[in-house]
């Protein structure tokens, strides 16, 4: 039973090579791992190792031969050793090979892989369903916002803290970690009182090492824990962005669905006030680009409380982009114990018929103020608070545009590939024929954030800019 030795490919692009030298001659004994020949490609000289053992009976391709095609036979072995590579190995056909049993006690017959194969049909079906589900995404958004009953005024700061406290009471797997979250009570006092209630096991101060502690939290989430990672600001998440994207977002896919990552990354995003370029940046576009992540951006206290609760319960990694300036603002917030805001649903904050203004986070404040201004001039703007950036409630936006026929987006992020860009494109795909004017984006200027007070004001969207944009799309 001869075994052919084939010309190997040494890179994914190699199709042929030169057989430079034989290191064994006919009649030599060959063991697994012995270097038997050298081959040359356009890039390098590489060694060919024997996989099977036996006696080299015949050299088919003499050394010095150029242009030897990959997978053509270059030599023959007599297959003297047991277990040739042609599937005729003794013990292979005749008896079930005994699986080595390492300490963890491998199951010899039906392992996980076999089970996976059995479940394969179900998985494929799930994939097909998902695709369909994605196409239908947002149809339910047409349903009216659920009435949660009585409300009370609450700051965004209190709403975020309450959301964490409620979820931590309900589930011991939830914990908070970050810089100054425990003893200092939070750099922005979001975690006020949590250390007292939950103790140092669940409210954990970290050193200033975003890359390291983010990776640590992601690793913990792989085991089923549900970390909430607070970034003092999202600017510092760039230190850890590899762990967020390459580890948290992609592992579920790369593991064929085995290893999820139920984790929340939260903290203030975007410009605060007078902290200049490195501390004033919006990350919505950055994270929204990534499959495997969900991204939400609360505006009101109700958004903050409801979305953060949903984010903590979500089995996927969720980015919660908060806004420092909004922390101290007070809004009415439902008091119901089970109040929650589903991820993926936008909210119409103000109804109108003349133009659709889509905004998120603090830009909703500006959009609402601009709408007041416009109302005085006889233009009724509909303001949509996105709440979720990914998944995007594209249907809610398209439905509104089908009514108003005009679209303006508002955000503080830079113009290039921002969320408004994505919204405009999706509206064109879904409702092009309803548009009576090209959509307009109002956004941060295409410059790093300046420090000087007057320049900073110029760099951010303003209410007059929103009013002007609306007039442009309404031709007024």
């Amino acid at each position: 039973m001869g075994v052919e030795i084939l010309m190997p490919a040494l890179s994914p692009t190699m199709t042929e090579g030169k057989l430079a030298r034989w290191l064994k001659k006919e009649g030599d004994q060959v063991k697994s791992g012995d270097v038997i020949a050298e081959i040359e490609t356009d890039k390098a000289t590489m060694e060919v190792e024997a996989v099977d053992e036996g006696t080299l009976t015949k050299i088919v391709v003499p050394e010095g031969t150029e242009g030897v095609a990959v997978n053509s036979p270059i030599a023959e072995l007599d297959g003297g050793g047991a277990g040739g590579s042609k599937g005729t190995a003794p013990g292979h056909d005749t008896a079930m090979p005994q699986q080595p049993a390492p300490p963890a006690a491998a199951s010899p017959e039906v392992g996980e892989v076999a089970k996976q194969a059995e479940d394969y049909g179900a998985v494929a079906q799930r994939g097909a369903d998902r695709k369909e589900g994605a196409a239908k995404m947002g149809e339910a958004a047409a349903a009216p916002e659920k009435d949660w009953g009585p409300t009370k005024p609450m700051t965004v700061r209190e709403a975020l803290r309450d959301a964490m406290a409620l979820e931590m009471r309900a589930d011991d797997k939830v914990f908070l970690m970050g810089e100054e979250v425990a003893q200092y009570q939070g750099a922005y006092k979001i975690s006020q009182g949590l250390l007292d209630e939950f103790g140092p096991r669940r409210v954990i101060d970290t050193p200033i090492t975003e890359h390291g502690f983010t990776g640590m939290a992601v690793g913990a989430a792989f085991t089923g824990l549900k970390p909430i990672v607070e970034f003092m600001t999202f600017n510092f998440s760039m230190q850890a962005i590899d762990q967020i994207i390459n580890s948290a977002a992609k592992t579920l896919y790369m593991s064929g669905g085995q290893l999820g990552c139920p984790i929340v990354f939260r903290g203030p995003n975007g410009a605060a006030a007078r902290v200049a370029a490195q501390h004033s940046q919006c990350y919505a576009s950055w994270y929204a680009h990534v499959p495997g992540l969900k991204v939400v951006a609360p505006w009101s206290s109700a958004d903050a409380k409801g979305l953060l609760r949903a984010a903590i319960r979500d089995p996927n990694p969720v980015i919660v982009l908060e806004n420092e300036i909004l922390y101290g603002h007070s809004f009415e917030c439902p008091v119901a114990d089970d109040f929650i805001v589903p991820i993926g649903k936008a909210k119409v904050e103000r109804a109108g018929k003349d133009v659709t203004i889509v905004a998120y986070s603090i830009a909703v404040t500006w959009a609402m103020q601009a709408a007041e201004e416009l109302a005085k001039q006889g233009i009724e703007a509909e303001v949509i608070n996105l709440r979720s950036i990914r998944p995007l409630d594209a249907e809610a936006i398209a439905n509104s545009v089908r009514k108003t026929n005009r679209l303006v987006t508002v955000e503080e992020g830079w113009p290039y590939a921002n969320i408004g860009t994505e919204i405009a494109m999706q509206v064109m795909e879904a409702a092009f024929d309803w548009l009576d004017a090209p959509p307009v984006r109002v956004c941060g200027k295409d410059v790093p954030m300046p420090y000087a007070a007057n320049l900073e004001k110029l760099a951010l969207p303003t209410i007059p800019e929103i009013v002007d944009a609306v007039k442009r799309v309404t031709y007024k």
């Binding site: 084939l6 190997p8 490919a9 994914p12 890039k43 390098a44 590489m46 996989v51 990959v70 277990g83 590579s85 190995a89 292979h92 090979p97 699986q99 080595p100 049993a101 390492p102 300490p103 491998a106 996980e112 892989v113 996976q116 194969a117 394969y120 998985v123 494929a124 799930r126 994939g127 097909a128 998902r130 695709k131 994605a134 096991r201 050193p207 090492t209 390291g212 502690f213 990776g215 640590m216 939290a217 992601v218 690793g219 989430a221 792989f222 085991t223 824990l225 590899d242 762990q243 390459n246 580890s247 592992t251 579920l252 896919y253 790369m254 593991s255 064929g256 290893l259 999820g260 089995p315």
Partner: protein, 341 residues
């Protein structure tokens, strides 16, 4: 390497009264496990050569004693995490050769249903948390596995493997600090195979003794002859005992060697053939174990039987990896997100 052998040897001599780190039966098991990795990797190299495996393929040949020795120290629930040179680690944890090989060929029978490939496989059941493609990322992730043990107040430990090349990454040192600060049960295992791709450790690390890299944080470390499965097991027992007792992290620098290139497409011109040949002839972990077994009274026929069994397992894996179908096209869309309940 001689230096490393001396380092461990000195420690072993210091405890002259203690029993050998492995019984004859344990050594036989270790031999079988190392041989499975060796034969599996040779087969993977062959399938790569036939164009059945794509992309990157980093072989573990030469380093088998490290994972097999360490795995022998583990208890149920302990975790293992490593880089992209991960086939050996997976086989050592008991993951099935056929599932690993089918992942290499990108088939639906692979551990990640063909969506992860050589560098990205996982088994929650076997405590294997990947398989990570970004150099050094697994070190903070592994620290997180240890954090989870701490949080759950279990006595489990996390074996966090990385190469000497990764040992210079910033997040490795961040992880050392976090683990020492919180006394997390993590064993940092530096597999020093002397070359980070084509750059020798001397050209990449100012540190001359990587086992001391955790010294600033008070992390005890030792150099171990990673070509000797007994020495690995012995050091591993010390490290796991340290972690299980709640004393925090431990660092093991495994002095080892990879016979093959960094990946399949590496012609390995940064070292001489003589250097590789010398390691193979004088320090091969499988040959060393084989000699010890024969000295211990085992006969050639028994070893031959194991060789045949291992070959059959690998052949079956290779056959499965070629017969298992490619993933259904619908798989493109699955597992991006966990469906909300």
């Amino acid at each position: 390497m001689a230096q490393a052998a001396e380092a461990t040897g000195a420690k072993r001599r210091g405890k002259a009264a203690s029993a050998p780190p492995m019984t004859q039966d344990q050594l036989l098991q270790a031999y079988r496990d190392m041989l499975l990795i060796r034969r599996f990797e040779e087969k993977a190299g062959q399938l790569y050569g036939m164009g059945l495996i794509g992309g990157f393929c980093h072989l573990y040949i030469g380093q088998e004693a490290v994972v097999v020795g360490m795995q022998a120290c583990l208890e149920p629930g302990d975790q293992v995490i490593t880089s992209y040179r991960d086939h050996g680690h997976m086989l050592a944890t008991g993951m099935e050769a056929r599932g690993v090989m089918a992942e290499l060929t990108g088939r639906s029978g692979g551990y990640s249903r063909g969506k992860g490939g050589s560098m990205h496989m996982f088994s929650r059941e076997k405590g294997f948390f990947g398989g990570h493609g970004i150099v050094g990322a697994q070190v903070s992730l592994g620290t997180g596995l240890a954090f989870a043990n701490w949080y759950r107040e279990s006595r489990n430990v996390s074996l966090t493997y990385f190469g000497e090349g990764a040992s210079n990454q910033g997040q490795v040192f961040e992880s050392f600090n976090l683990a020492a600060l919180m006394k997390l049960p993590v064993i940092f295992i530096i597999e020093n195979n002397k070359y980070g791709m084509g750059t020798s450790v001397e050209r990449a690390s100012a540190s001359r003794d990587l086992s001391k890299n955790g010294a600033a944080w008070g992390i005890p470390g030792e150099q171990v002859n990673g070509m000797d499965v007994m020495a690995v097991k012995e050091a591993g027992e010390r490290a796991t005992a340290h972690c299980r007792a709640g004393n925090g992290p431990y660092l093991l620098e495994m002095k080892t060697y990879r016979y093959r290139g960094h990946s399949m497409s590496d012609p390995a011109k940064y070292r001489t053939r003589e250097e590789v040949q010398k390691m193979r002839e004088q320090s091969d972990p499988i040959e060393t174990a084989r000699k010890l077994l024969l000295e211990g009274g085992l006969d050639e026929a028994a070893l031959k039987k194991i060789d045949d069994e291992v070959k059959a397992v690998v052949q079956e894996a290779a056959d499965f990896a070629q017969s298992s179908p490619e993933p259904d096209e619908a798989e493109l869309w699955t597992d991006v997100l966990v469906e909300a309940r």
